[in-house]
């Protein structure tokens, strides 16, 4: 699965990068590469079923913590 993901990302990167290099969009290429690496990393995390915290759980914990701090015993 991870190899397949890497191949898909590599294929898309080469397809897009060709146009960017031809048009001399170097800054765009740098940001695109960075985002693609981040996207690949996140996809690998998903594919590997790594146990990650949930976004809304984090917000809820933050809300509960703030409420406890501001209104103790609420």
């Amino acid at each position: 699965m991870i190899i397949l993901l890497v191949l898909i990302f590599l294929g898309l990167f080469l397809y897009e990068a060709r146009g960017l290099v031809a048009g001399e969009y170097w800054r765009e290429l740098a940001v695109f590469t960075l985002l693609m690496l981040l996207g690949l990393f996140l996809s690998i995390l998903l594919a590997s079923e790594v146990d990650l915290p949930y976004v809304e759980s984090i917000w809820l914990d933050l809300y509960t913590g703030l409420r406890e701090g501001l209104v103790p015993g609420a």
Binding site: E28, L35, L42, L46, E56, Y63
Partner: protein, 363 residues
């Protein structure tokens, strides 16, 4: 970046779709269920105040997006930090819409299908739409929002034989704090999310019509959502608050002469298109926003990696729908208040202070 242009009418339709978005299938404020249709109208009024606040910002900096305004008001470093905060907000709005629709499909229609099999084709379509640009999104949206509005209006006739007006009583039998809290909650989600539209306003071909376009967009979306809730309450009565997806269940109840039954898939497909438009707009705004933060000339290459991020956040948004409902009830209003009211208000305040300071320095 290429300058794309949309008309004020297309902006009105985009505001409608963005507001209706995922709220239509998973409404917030279910604790005020029987009065929700009235609360939507109150929230719509409150959201117009938020919208005018944002428009005031746009009028002060005509032709600038929200991120460009941040850079002018706060300077390049702090301005970009504020823009990054908004990037997270837009990412979460898009991921939230995606996650809600996937949960709906997964729990009601494709119960044995893996999540990713639903999410990946969705993201591919959204990335394709985003790469085509705002004009294409706006043009696609026109027939889709008209179909959605038409369907909601048609629903009035479809449920005439099963609705009971007594189900709507009593009006406002809730404590005032509950009414106010839910009004605030709905004015922030879904209406307050329209702060994202500030990223699109410079692309409207007649800027003088922007205010009217947004006004009618919010009014029409609020009217449609309120009408749908009115019908749902008149059909279900108090029991409606037990459903997680009341709109979906409401269409299941339609029965005309034992011939037109189990129609829920038609509105479901129709409402999915609103989700598509909302996620597509979020992705477009994220891509254009990233391009503005990094001073890029094109945004299209960024659509795919940002689409992957929406997919990732949607997968990691909530473990169960009950936690999501708790989040909507408790944390969402504060989250929305920060981005839809506090930050635009702060930007407006700082812009006034800096403006008056600059004038004093000049004099």
């Amino acid at each position: 970046m290429t300058k794309e242009q949309i008309s004020p009418r297309q902006l009105t339709f985009l505001v409608m779709s963005f507001t209706i978005g995922s709220w239509i299938v998973l409404p917030s404020g279910l604790e005020a269920w029987q009065n929700l249709w009235l609360i939507i109208l109150l929230a719509m009024g409150m959201s117009l105040v938020f919208a005018y606040l944002c428009l005031f910002l746009f009028r002060r900096y005509p032709g600038k997006t929200l991120f460009e305004i941040h850079e002018i008001v706060y300077g390049p470093v702090i301005g970009r930090l504020f823009s990054l905060l908004f990037m997270w907000f837009f990412l979460q709005i898009g991921a939230n819409a995606l996650a809600v629709f996937v949960t709906l499909l997964k729990t009601r229609v494709f119960t044995a299908t893996p999540d990713l099999a639903l999410v990946i084709p969705w993201v591919i379509t959204v990335v394709y739409g985003c790469r085509r640009g705002l004009e294409v999104i706006a043009r696609c949206n026109e027939p889709l929002i008209l179909a959605t509005a038409g369907l909601i209006l048609l629903s009035v006739f479809l449920v005439l034989n099963i609705m009971e007006l007594e189900n709507l009583y009593p009006f406002f039998n809730l404590p005032l704090p509950t009414v106010l809290w839910n009004t605030l909650g709905i004015s922030l989600f879904p209406f307050g999310q329209n702060v994202a539209i500030l990223m699109l306003l410079p692309q409207v071909n007649r800027p003088q019509k922007v205010r009217t376009a947004i006004f009618w967009g919010i009014l029409a979306a609020g009217g449609l959502l309120s009408l749908l809730q009115f019908l749902a309450v008149s059909v279900f009565g108090k029991t409606g608050e037990l459903f997680v997806f009341p709109t979906y269940e409401f269409y299941r109840m339609i029965n005309i002469g034992q011939v037109f039954t189990r129609l829920e898939l038609i509105p479901l497909l129709n409402f999915l298109t609103m989700g598509f438009i909302k996620i597509m707009l979020c992705l477009y705004i994220l891509a254009v926003g990233t391009a503005q933060i990094f001073n890029l000339r094109v945004y299209q290459p960024l659509a795919f990696p940002l689409g992957v991020m929406i997919l990732f956040v949607a997968q990691q948004l909530y473990p169960s729908i009950s936690l999501h409902l708790e989040y909507i009830k408790l944390a969402q209003p504060f989250f929305g208040l920060f981005f839809s009211l506090f930050l635009p208000l702060l930007t407006l305040g700082v812009s006034f202070l800096r403006g008056s300071a600059q004038r004093e320095m000049k004099s």
